[in-house]
């Protein structure tokens, strides 16, 4: 039995790590929802787009090369240079900020004051659009993402746990790095929101648009800011998942992993996204280990994440950390 216990501990540890990765995706949703009330369906596609752009820039790919070649009959593919990772990340960030500006300027400025479902629908359009543009720009082959993140089993943890339990735990180095980055990101975001001028303005907008407007906060600027931040989070998530599986279309599906996290943690809470991610990560992995794989034939993680969120929601309908819903007639 102690062996089973060690296995369970290992599964839990890995669940925590997976949860951090889910939380990273969920964070992008929360940022935008909090500041503008938009449920951004395009967040997953944004992660894909950011990762594609980063990989494309690093390889020195010519954007839209396929389209250009088809129209002009040319044969251009690569600029023939490689951009170092750090510079490429900066350039990608510039692209994501430009995207945030364009989205705000061309789409959401025209939809100020509309109902949430309509804003949601606009993000659906955006998702389609970005997916098409991403493919046209960088092609649909799988790109490997190598920004120098370590991968593989962590030897130290393996050895230490082996001495403790007689069974070495497997923890992926990438997951450790991801957890550290996610933690830094959350701390950074909280500090930014608490102690800077823009951060305060952001919170003001999140609390009450009209009141914020009346004291001179530029809504336009704040919304561009949160979309850029969401773009940044998308880029980080894209790098993490892209390192694991290569950059490809399926990256946009990671948004599905973030949905139960969001529901559980509440749409409006950054700590909620983190705690929700951890609960979902541990819950689905433990369930698969204890019940799913031995008794139900496996592959239960997808639906169990939602069932878990559902059970929590029945007891707390606004999510763990969501604002309490006060209903008045």
């Amino acid at each position: 039995m102690p062996e089973q216990l060690a296995f369970a501990l290992e599964v839990t540890a890995n669940g925590l790590m997976a949860g951090v990765l889910y939380a990273l995706v969920a964070l992008g949703f929360v940022l935008i929802y909090k500041a503008s009330g938009i449920f951004n369906y395009a967040q997953g596609v944004m992660a894909l787009f950011a990762a594609l752009t980063l990989a494309g820039i690093m390889d020195g790919q010519v954007p839209f090369s396929h389209l250009i070649n088809a129209i002009f009959g040319t044969d251009v593919h690569y600029f023939g240079w490689n951009v170092p990772a750090f510079l490429a990340i900066l350039l990608t960030m510039v692209v994501m900020i430009a995207l945030a500006y364009a989205v705000q300027r061309l789409v959401f400025r025209h939809l100020v004051g509309q109902e949430p479902i309509i804003l949601f629908m606009a993000t659906i359009g955006l998702a389609y659009f970005l997916e098409g543009v991403g493919d046209l720009m960088w092609g649909s082959d799988i790109k490997s993402m190598d920004v120098g993140l370590p991968q593989g089993i962590n030897g130290w943890i393996d050895n230490t746990t082996f001495e403790l339990f007689g069974y070495g735990f497997f923890i992926d180095n990438l997951d450790i790095v991801a957890s550290i980055i996610a933690a830094l990101l959350v701390i950074g975001l909280v500090i930014y929101a608490q102690y800077t001028k823009q951060g305060r303005a952001m919170r003001a907008v999140a609390d009450d648009h009209q009141a914020a407007l009346s004291v001179g906060v530029s809504l336009n600027f704040i919304w561009i800011l949160v979309w850029s931040l969401a773009g940044f989070v998308a880029l980080v998530a894209g790098i993490m998942w892209g390192t694991k599986s290569g950059v490809q279309f399926s990256l946009s599906l990671i948004a599905l992993k973030a949905l139960p996290v969001l529901m559980l943690g509440g749409f409006t809470s950054i700590p909620g996204a983190i705690v929700g991610g951890l609960i979902i990560g541990v819950g689905e992995k433990l369930f698969e280990f204890l019940i799913g794989a031995p008794f139900l034939g496996g592959a239960t993680e997808n639906w169990f994440a939602y069932m878990l969120a559902l059970i929590f929601l029945v007891f707390r309908p606004q999510g763990l950390f969501g604002e309490k819903i006060i209903e008045r007639v």
Binding site: I117, M121, I124, Y128, G132, N302
Partner: protein, 358 residues
Amino acid sequence: MLYRESGDFSSTYPQDSQTFPIKFDRYRYYFVLFIAIAVIPFIINDYWVNSLFLPFLIYAIAAIGLNILVGYCGQVSLGTGGFMAVGAYACYKLMTSFPDISMLVHVLLSGLITAAVGVLFGLPSLRIKGFYLAVATLAAQFFLVWLFNRVPWFYNYSASGQISAPERTFFGINITGANTQAWATYLFCLMFVIFSAYIARNLTRGSVGRKWMAIRDMDIAAEIIGVNPLRAKLTAFAVSSFFVGISGALFFSIYLGAVEVGEVFGIQKSFLVLFMIIIGGLGSIFGSFAGAAFLVLLPVVLKIVGVDWLGWPTDIVAHLQLVIVGGLIIVFLIAEPHGLAQLWRVAKEKLRLWPFPH
């Protein structure tokens, strides 16, 4: 000019409360029905039916179903794909267990079974609201797909887990399997579309529909004025799932003929149907049709224009398709945030005054 109510007098109450109070509207409606029933079956071929009409009609039923739940009752659902799968698998089990019974019965029974499953997954809606409710239905989506993939009984223990529709008839005419006539499958689906639209339209005009809308607009207020939220929400789930189940059964048996649950009824399908009703217009039967047409027909039209006319490479056309569909959604929204149905309503208002708007 033609389009106005002047001169159209109603002398009885039924006349006054009819669906299309304007004479021109009424005639237009009969005209569309006439074309759909009596003209199209004679001129369509396999291509038209299988690539355009069947998906359009079947998605329209699903969209009507979902629109009842989301548009009329205000309960966001992302479980459409899962409920369609229930309809499809129910239909498959019925078709293979009772081969001699008419397809009509099988499809209706599949709808009823789906309604029961829908009610079950609708129970959490009493406590959870808004986007949070989507999680309950997403749980249904993922769980049902997993279940149909997991339990061999549902696919009659076949080697791979695919289900294939055997040949079945309706009044002696083949409507499933390989040897079908274009007009037969078309008319069979059309029958269900007319039936669904008729029921849905009249339900939403009556007391049930008004209760749904009261719940949608403000559930606490509705409760205070005497609407039972339990009954209203659960009937919405039941009716909605009934239609969605019918569309799933038709989707499998008539349209595709062979289905693999994860691929055909996955989460993408739930999103697609939701997109249809949002684009078409929430709380509008016409909107369900318009949304289904937009998302089924537009890609095919773009493909024909891009590949067959302009001769562009297929992948560039497919990518541009995404860009254009996405762009159009945004443009429509900025022009008219309440969907295609609202555009239609505005156009009708304008037409009423035309050509003397002042």
